[in-house]
């Protein structure tokens, strides 16, 4: 697999506070990668830096060999790096369909056209197909603001995929989704994303989800990377158990059986 993103000695400070430092990560095309870490460990800061929301204080972000530090968010999106948000960033007074139509329209015309009609039956068909892929087509005509958090999360993620990104960051995709629905939610999500060749990095606090859906894990602690490797190695790493997931974490029966 080709390395598409590489960060070198990435650092971000807020005054005297070091939010992230010495972040060196390589992400290859098509891979699924989980990121774990307690609150304030630097996970979202890392995503914010790579997607152009926060400029790093120092370091390099190489996307397909090009340093993208300093580029605005929209240009990074146009290059093929998209993201979803911990709190879904949607257009709450519009319908689910309208949200996706806007995303599709922008993906087709990054420079807004003045008088060319944007919405047409073909675009609407594409929007409905996308909603269907994420199993939310039945909510197409409902106002986003009144929907459950899980549905809004899926709309948020669906919108992040319309530009067919090469690399997709999902910031805590299951936060706000009830414990009973998390697994089904992630299954829907991963199955929808499998249809593309997108590399996915998702931030997650639920270790069962990490074990089930992520072959590789990066553990953050106090702004730096504590461990990076295969999931079973990282989750059994002593430092990760002590500082990130806690010693009380027990591996799921399913994983244990699988290993047996």
């Amino acid at each position: 697999m080709t390395v598409i993103l590489e960060t070198r000695k990435l650092k971000r400070t807020f005054g005297a506070v070091i939010a992230a430092h010495d972040i060196n990560i390589k992400i290859s095309s098509g891979e699924v990668l989980g990121v774990i870490g307690s609150n304030g460990a630097g996970k979202t800061t890392f995503v914010n830096m790579v997607t152009g929301y926060l400029p790093p204080s120092s370091g390099e972000i190489l996307y397909r060999g090009e340093n993208i530090v300093g580029l605005p968010t929209r240009e990074i999106t146009q290059k093929g790096i998209c993201r979803s948000f911990q709190i879904p960033q949607l257009f709450p007074e519009l319908s689910v369909l309208d949200n996706v139509l806007i995303a599709l329209s922008v993906a087709d015309n990054p420079r807004p056209a003045l008088f060319k009609t944007a919405v047409n039956p073909a675009l609407e068909k594409r929007a409905l197909a996308l909603l269907d892929r994420f199993s939310i087509a039945q909510h197409a005509h409902r106002e986003v603001g009144v929907l459950a958090q899980g549905i809004r999360k899926l709309v948020d993620i669906a919108m992040a995929t319309v530009a067919e990104p090469e690399l997709l960051f999902l910031d805590e995709p299951t936060s706000g989704v009830s414990a009973d629905e998390k697994m089904a939610f992630m299954a829907t999500l991963i199955s929808a994303l499998k249809a593309t060749e997108t590399a996915v990095l998702f931030i997650e606090h639920d270790m069962e989800i990490i074990e089930t859906f992520s072959p590789r894990v990066v553990a953050f602690y106090e702004g730096t990377i504590l461990a990076d490797g295969r999931t079973e190695q990282v989750l059994t790493n002593d430092k990760v158990r002590e500082f990130v997931i806690g010693s009380e974490f027990h591996r799921t029966e399913a994983t244990a059986e699988e290993e047996a």
């Binding site: 997607t51 605005p72 968010t73 929209r74 999106t77 146009q78 998209c82 993201r83 960033q89 949607l90 257009f91 709450p92 007074e93 519009l94 319908s95 309208d98 139509l101 806007i102 995303a103 329209s105 922008v106 993906a107 087709d108 015309n109 990054p110 420079r111 807004p112 056209a113 003045l114 008088f115 060319k116 009609t117 944007a118 919405v119 047409n120 039956p121 609407e124 005509h141 919108m159 992040a160 319309v162 530009a163």
Partner: protein, 327 residues
Amino acid sequence: MTQFDRTELTLFAALPVLVLLSVLLPSWIVNYIQVSLGTGMVALGVMIQMRAGLVSFGQGLYFCIGGYAAGLAGKYFGITDLFALLGLGVVVALVTSVALGFLLRRYREIFYAMLSLAVSMILYGLLSSTEELGSTDGFNLPVPTYLFFAPEGETARLTLFAITATIVILSAVVLNRLLRSSLGLVNEAIRENELRVEYLGTSAHMAVHMTYVVAAVVSSMGGVLWALALGHVDPEMTNWTTSGSFVFIVILAGTGSIIAPLIGTFLLEILRVYAVELSPNTWQMILGSVMLLTIIFLPKGLWSLVQKTSPRKRFDPDTGDAVAKGV
């Protein structure tokens, strides 16, 4: 193939009706309609900005620029051709708005409103204190001609009305296209969540700038037509009270359709006439009460009454034809 939606077909149908009414109705009502068409263009400019969540309290700036560009061209260069005056007004507004847009596109909410107001009041001060520009009294405009056609008397009045109505209707159709364009969609998105707009891969600043320029151009056209209808311009055109009345119109009418501000402008004119007649010294109180009641009971304006009966679908599922306006 170009598809006209319901709004555009309604606008096209309204044109012959308007022209016919100008012959049938008493001249005082026709005058009000004509004045409303001019100011309605400015309300359209305010409305398209409001769709992006931006309230311009200084749209009178471009209304005034249009009127003064036409007036000064007539006064100093003897230009009387309506189309030339219109073109001149548009060019001056275009240049001004492209330049000012670089500043205004960086601001939102109250800052956008106040900055647009501040710029318009600078022009107000400039015009009021410059003798060569007519000072506070302003100056008169010539009777317009149309290429090689120079009508007089009643024909002149009817010609100006017909041309004004045609320009306003065509502009409204073009602006309706803008609402349905990708810029229109992005504007809706900016109003709701600008951060997401940037993350979708487009520039909110650029969209705001483009919208600001289009609004300025439309408003300047309204200024030219209004000034030619009244035959006079003065600095009041860019005073904050004038700009405020355009915002009032859009709040009263709503932003649901491009037709709404045009109707709203006429309603405000009529409301003002009756309010003054009913209560000459406190007519503003009546206007204020109407505004209050609108905000309380129809927060999305009078047009929301019409929209409640409209379908949400944009396309006929069988034919794919447009059945309603864009998002």
